[in-house]
């Protein structure tokens, strides 16, 4: 059961005119995991999701979801998955409760099942407080929770979330992450896209790093960091001229050094001795240094030479 593959994309490409949005992308998403597509704006995340639920036709390659070829039987696939779109699509004049009802009917739910499910989701996403107000009067965080509730109407085996927390305040993000964990805990497979490395790192069992429509690398967040970088990072500001003076010929196993403008990041097993040696070379000039764990943002930087959030 756990070895079952829920989404299988084989060498999928999508061309819009002359623009290659997705380029020979292959993915395998096993059942029960939370899988993240991590990449900057324009990387091809949304296009990949649209191909997976069958509203964008790949220019080449095939996609199977639940073992079914999506091009053959999109209805059968979509009856078993739920999608939260990047932009909320809600009926603004109707209340959360009515929105859920309308959406339930798209899945052909009937009473009493329809009401039962609506009530479950009003509770699960904490929508009760404003269940009868028109959606247009609700906050962004509330609307996002409702959008996610809609995509759960059919108790999906696979939940697809396109940038679920972009633009939300930290408290709402935390609450949504905990809902996603509840879902994976009960066996739902989750596929989400994000350009927040902290989201991917905290939530995802596996991530695929995407840039320019290609998967650059894929694996568990900790494993990606271990492969490409090292557990710790020292960050400091220095000019390219100072760099050899400060860092040249150190007797330390530095895994990797990256520069973005004035900022230099050094990745290594243990940061403390490096900090000491830099202090020593700085001769009393107490340069500001940040020691922190290496993260997926660093991996992205190491792999592509560009940063995630500022992408493109």
């Amino acid at each position: 059961m756990t070895s079952e593959i829920i989404v299988e994309a084989a060498a999928v490409s999508k061309r819009f005119g002359t623009r290659l949005a997705v380029d020979h992308l292959s993915l395998e998403i096993p059942a029960g995991v939370c899988f993240g597509l991590l990449g900057p704006n324009g990387a091809g995340k949304t296009t990949t999701l649209r191909m997976i639920y069958g509203v964008t036709r790949p220019s080449s390659g095939t996609i199977r979801v639940f073992g079914i070829d999506i091009a053959r039987d999109p209805r059968a696939v979509r009856s078993r998955l739920g999608v939260t779109l990047q932009q909320n699509v809600l009926i603004e004049a109707l209340s959360p409760e009515e929105n859920l009802r309308v959406f339930g009917r798209y899945h052909l739910l009937r009473e009493p099942e329809l009401s039962r499910r609506v009530n479950q989701l009003l509770d699960f996403l904490e929508l009760r407080s404003h269940e009868r107000l028109p959606v247009r009067q609700l906050s962004g965080g509330f609307q996002r929770r409702l959008a996610i509730a809609l995509s759960l109407m059919n108790q999906p085996e696979l939940l697809i979330l396109d940038e679920p927390t972009t633009g939300l305040d930290p408290a709402v993000r935390l609450a949504l992450w905990s809902r996603v964990r509840d879902l994976t805990a009960t066996g739902t497979t989750v596929l989400l896209t994000t350009h927040y490395m902290d989201e991917a790192q905290r939530l995802c069992d596996r991530v695929a790093i995407i840039s320019g429509g290609k998967v650059i690398d894929e694996g568990a967040p900790a494993a990606l960091i271990a492969t490409h970088l090292a557990p710790e990072t020292v960050e400091l500001d220095c000019t390219p001229e100072e760099e050899p003076i400060l860092l040249g010929g150190l007797a330390l196993p530095l895994r990797r050094r990256l520069r973005v403008g004035r900022r230099v990041m050094i990745y290594l097993q243990d940061a403390s001795s490096l900090v000491e040696q830099i202090r020593h070379r700085d001769q009393g000039d107490r340069r500001e240094m940040v020691i922190r764990p290496a993260n997926l943002e660093d991996v992205f930087l190491a792999l592509t030479g560009t940063s995630l959030e500022g992408g493109q």
């Binding site: 209805r75 009856s79 779109l85 009802r101 798209y106 052909l108």
Partner: protein, 255 residues
């Protein structure tokens, strides 16, 4: 074929639940327009016209304006409303995350436009009945005609809506297509008394002409063989355009 009737009905129901909220505001302008024409032209201008095609002028106008009401009801729905759902509300993007397919969206929307055509046509018929302008029982036949007229104008409008890039272009649809149709489709004067033979053949292409002729036949209660041609035109053109709309919907909703 990938039409699923239950899914199409779910699309229809979405629109119906919205309409339940707003019908009071929606129905007023579109419904009153033909009523104003009826009074202004039927009673006002009609006072100077002793008869037209063998009837009082208001009785001549009445059945045609039922068709105009149905045309307006369907047209508004498949133009502005569909375009808003398509591009601003993105309602179809949400539907297509469920088992709903583009064919179901199209069918549901057409069915809803037909429903509105019937609501408008039906209300207008009620006004006519109050003024004793609906010969019974024969005029009741227009209740069969309303869905057909609705279907025809839903099909024409939806092809247009699915093909245009921005909402401003609807003013062309209204001023250069629907308004001339309204003025030159036998509604206000009988074309065959005013046009020469070759032009009459050209006029046969006008979509509103056929429902209007059918409505007059129903009110008069005489079904001459020409109604077969009118029915054939309405159904034939509707089906042709719907086949075209299917392709357009697939292209517009999926990529």
């Amino acid at each position: 074929m990938s039409l699923s009737i239950p899914h199409a009905l779910a699309v229809w129901r979405r629109n119906a639940s919205m309409y339940r909220r707003t019908w009071k505001w929606n129905i007023l302008p579109n419904f009153f327009e033909p009523v104003f024409y009826l009074f202004s032209l039927g009673i006002g201008v009609g006072a100077y016209i002793s008869e037209m095609s063998g009837a009082s002028y208001i009785a001549f106008l009445a059945p045609a304006l039922v068709c105009v009401a149905a045309m307006n009801g369907a047209s508004f729905e498949v133009t502005y409303n569909i375009f808003v759902r398509l591009t601003f509300e993105k309602a179809y993007d949400a539907m297509l995350t469920t088992p709903i397919e583009p064919d179901d969206v199209l069918a549901g929307e057409i069915l809803w436009a037909v429903t509105r055509a019937c609501i408008y046509g039906g209300c207008f018929y009620a006004v006519l009945a109050v003024f004793g302008l609906t010969p019974l029982p024969s005029s009741l036949l227009v209740f069969l005609l309303m869905p057909l007229a609705g279907l025809l104008f839903a099909a024409i409008g939806i092809v247009f809506s699915l093909r245009i890039p921005n909402i401003e272009l609807f003013s062309f649809y209204y001023t250069l297509f629907l308004t001339p149709l309204f003025l030159f489709s036998d509604v206000f004067f009988p074309l065959k008394e005013r046009l020469s033979e070759p032009w009459l053949w050209v006029a046969e292409a006008l979509p509103l002409l056929h429902p209007v002729r059918l409505a007059r036949a129903a009110f008069r209660g005489d079904l001459s063989p020409i109604v077969l041609w009118d029915l054939g035109y309405v159904l034939g053109l509707s089906l042709l355009l719907l086949a075209w709309a299917r392709r357009a919907a697939r292209q517009r909703l999926m990529n």
